[in-house]
Amino acid sequence: MSTTTISRRDFLRIAGASVGALAVGQLLPVKVAEAARQAGLIDVDGNGYISTMCEMCVWRCGVRAKVENGRVVKLEGNPEHPHSLGNLCARGQSGLMNTYDPDRVLTPLIRVGQRGEGKFRQASWEEALDLVANSMQEIKDKYGPEAVVFSSTHNLSQVQFENLLNAFGSPNYGTQRSLCFNAMIVANQMTYGLEEPNRSYDGLKYLILTGRNLMEAISTSETAALSHAIDRGMKVVYLDPRFTKTAAKATNWLPVRPGSDLAFHLALLNVIVSEELYNRDFVQQYTVGFDQLAAEIRPYTPEWAAPITDIDAETIRRIAREFSDAAPNALAHNGWRTSNFVNSFQTQRAISCLNALVGNWGIHLLPAAAEGAGLGVPPQPPYPRVSAMRMDGVPWKYPLVPFKLGVFQELRNAMLSEDPYQAHGWFISRQNPVQSLPDRGKTLEAMSKLDFIAVVDIFLNDTAWFADVVLPEASYLERYDPLNVVGNKAFIRQPVIQPQGEAKSALWIYKELGKRLGLEDFFQYEDEEDYLRQQLAPLGVTLEDVREKGYAELPEEESDPFTWNTPSGKVELFSDTLDRAGFSAVPAWEEPPRPVDGQFYLLTGKVGQHTQFGTQNNQLLHKYEDEPRLWMNAATARELGLKDNDLVKVKSEIGEVNITLWATEAIRPDCVYLTPGYGHLSKGLTTGYGVGASDSVLHLSFTDPISGSQALSQTFVTVQKA
């Protein structure tokens, strides 16, 4: 076999063989083996099952990892974990391929070529950490701590990432939340005083799903709950311009016009109020602002909504009646992003109010427990006072966006415009903004202005490809993270194998950087195990017990579900907070823009085989994914003279990509759809590179002034033969 002419097919086959080949004959490295043996997790031969948690998405299923001779050979869902219930999805099953990916970065890397050339040299941790810390300190000394931007995506070690950010003293924090569900969170806070209530499908008879493609954007236990409920006869109304795998299971698929799901929900509210179908007792006892809501929604009749939504008035009226008939066993699902327009905040508010009107609180919507409640934390001094304003406009431009969410795309825009000031450094951990932020061209330009970029990741993802230093993190099967509370249990993520190469946990990396930045007092834990012991201290259980069992029990907390952390203490149909900030205090119609002739709505979404932008290099998922093609309605394609599998050019105002066409009946004629997470720039991703196209090349930045949400579906494109 020639290595120079190796085909992709050969490569995959050989790489696959290497996984199996490595699985035999290697001894478990001493440290993990000894610890695991002492904890009774594996036998003398190094074989057994170890309980841990998945990290292939943020649902964090419980995993039982099968270990043979120091290799993890299979992952099973942990039946004791409420998020997996013994099952794992395709991504969860493929997790060991992330760990054993030949593209893993296993030593610290320091850039030697131009940014984006992908030329790095291997370095020691000492050298790499010194370089990162010195560069950050230099920027801090010269321009102030605010000149270093920190960003990281939802993960279990994020609490220590935030610790580093706060100790360093920078207010500039980028999370992915504004690209995902800021609208949902802020709307829930305005209505119920919490980020996201828990949902129960027990006994649920009627569900309206908006922008929550649960059969493809899989959250294992919730997907299972939905499937089981459908199986026992629950009715599902599903709004989506695409006939997704969820649409296929719904009682009613409504191919709603993008951006108009708000009108649909306002019309439901209109029918339920005007026909007096709401739960009078609940409304009187537990809500404020019903009269203002009733007044606002009076004009939003089903007849008004029909031409806006392309759903006929009778269908809307029927659904409103069926929904209230099924109450309180009826639920309008908040979804994650609804239709992803700037009016999505209003959509989320309308959904929250709809639930309140039928009184499903305490039955299908439940208060969520606070994260980390009952666990210990390492001691630390108070954080330095931050005087600089945030670059992303929170709160001076976006008064209602919580600090911990921020407005990531605006942060990037400010890095580019240098308004209100100039950023000089960017410390990024477990995040891929080059792919995830809309308008990739802008992101790359903003990065080119910076003096220093450091990335913590397990791969050379597209962002790491442009970094000056890459710090290799241990994969989730190789490291500890802080405990994760679900219900009344704190679950553990623990190493099931020794970290490969020089990879290290985020807890270790942040502490080592802290030390070098003179912030040692903020990281008062010896190592990862000491961190977890301090977390467990108040519970009186040992780390060894938790390692064996997989979780620690937390004391039951008694709380009254019928109190809400809102200014009025009730469910706020009318929000004084919104009113005072100058926004509509009750859900109200906002007309979304529409594409002009020849343009299409560009939709984004999820597939069951991938998570966001981080799994496309996984060989097992690549093996079973569908080719990422541009969905276009078959009739529309015919009109444009396009055929299935034609290479087409998709153009927005800011960019263009070439991609293969899928002419399908499964999408509205005025929409096209592209699965995100493809079209990677990094040649360090040998499986994912060269596959598909990136939608972030096409997406324009639009920010909702209330929630800071990026309106991802508000980009319009043209399509022609390439």
């Binding site: 050989i14 696959g16 290497s18 080949a21 099953q93 060991l96 493809e216 040649k683």
Partner: protein, 265 residues
């Protein structure tokens, strides 16, 4: 005749969400090469015209017939129907004649053309994770299925369960349990909301196993098979020695890394 207490799998197409967790789980559990699979999705997917659409997906693997034609067709006894259900394969005695592929009415056994001649005859198909069953575990695909579209258990009980689902929701299902009688009965049972042919399952396959036919076929060709056995047996013995000498894991890993590097450059 079928053993009364044998295992089977029941697949319910109304529950399948085409997430492919089963396929990945199978690939990992059985260490399947990256360009091969023992489970595949069949069926016509999305059908109809916008906006009146349906979707059908089937998780297709070995049907584990009660009287498997692959076993009847095999001149050297490489196939065994285990008493507890799985139809399993023994690569040590296989001579690579591929009669099983022709005999299987469901088109399940696949010949590994990459390895077939060089490394000895290799037919691949689902084993119902017989090794897991021996350890008291469900097959990997079943164990991970998030929506219980696949369930595992006693065949008689699963048939009763399947009929129970049809009775409870007659509007939802085609009134038939595929595999209860097809080809003499199979240990992979299928419930569907669309005609079985839309799931890619052969229809009109008959309740009689094809064994009678295939046995006759094999009877006529035994001299041919024996000749093959002699020739391939010799080749196989040689190749096995070669394989153990040269195909060391380390060299593969190294080549992979080199190949990756060259691709980057």
């Amino acid at each position: 005749m079928a053993n009364k207490n044998q295992y089977a799998m029941l697949f319910d197409a109304t529950r399948c969400i085409d997430c492919r967790a089963c396929m990945v789980a199978c690939s990992v559990e059985n260490n399947i090469p990256m360009d091969k699979t023992r489970i595949w999705v069949s069926g016509i997917g999305v059908s109809g015209q916008y906006p009146n659409l349906t979707r059908s997906t089937m998780v297709y693997h070995c049907m584990h017939c009660l009287e498997p034609d692959c076993a009847s067709a095999c001149p050297v006894g490489a196939w065994t129907k285990r008493e507890d259900g799985p139809v399993v394969y023994n690569s040590e005695v296989c001579i690579g004649c591929r009669y099983c592929m022709n005999a299987c009415p469901f088109g399940v056994p696949k010949f590994d053309w990459d390895k077939g001649i060089v490394e000895g005859p290799l037919i691949d198909k689902c084993s119902m994770c017989a090794h897991r069953i021996d350890d008291g575990l469900e097959p990997a695909c079943v164990a991970t299925c998030p929506t219980d579209a696949l369930v595992f258990g006693d065949r008689e009980e699963l048939i009763a369960e399947a009929h129970g689902r049809i009775a409870a929701h007659p509007d939802r299902y085609v009134n038939h349990v595929y595999g209860e009688t097809e080809n003499g009965g199979t240990s992979y049972l299928v419930l569907s909301h669309v005609p079985f042919k839309d799931l890619g399952l052969p229809e009109g396959i008959g309740d009689e196993p094809l064994n009678t036919l295939s046995e006759q076929y094999v009877g006529n060709t035994i001299p041919v098979a024996l000749t093959w056995a002699t020739v391939l047996g010799a080749v196989t013995a040689g190749v096995h020695t070669y394989k153990h000498k040269n195909h060391k894991a380390e060299s593969l890993v190294k080549e992979t890394a080199e190949a990756a590097e060259e691709e980057i450059q």
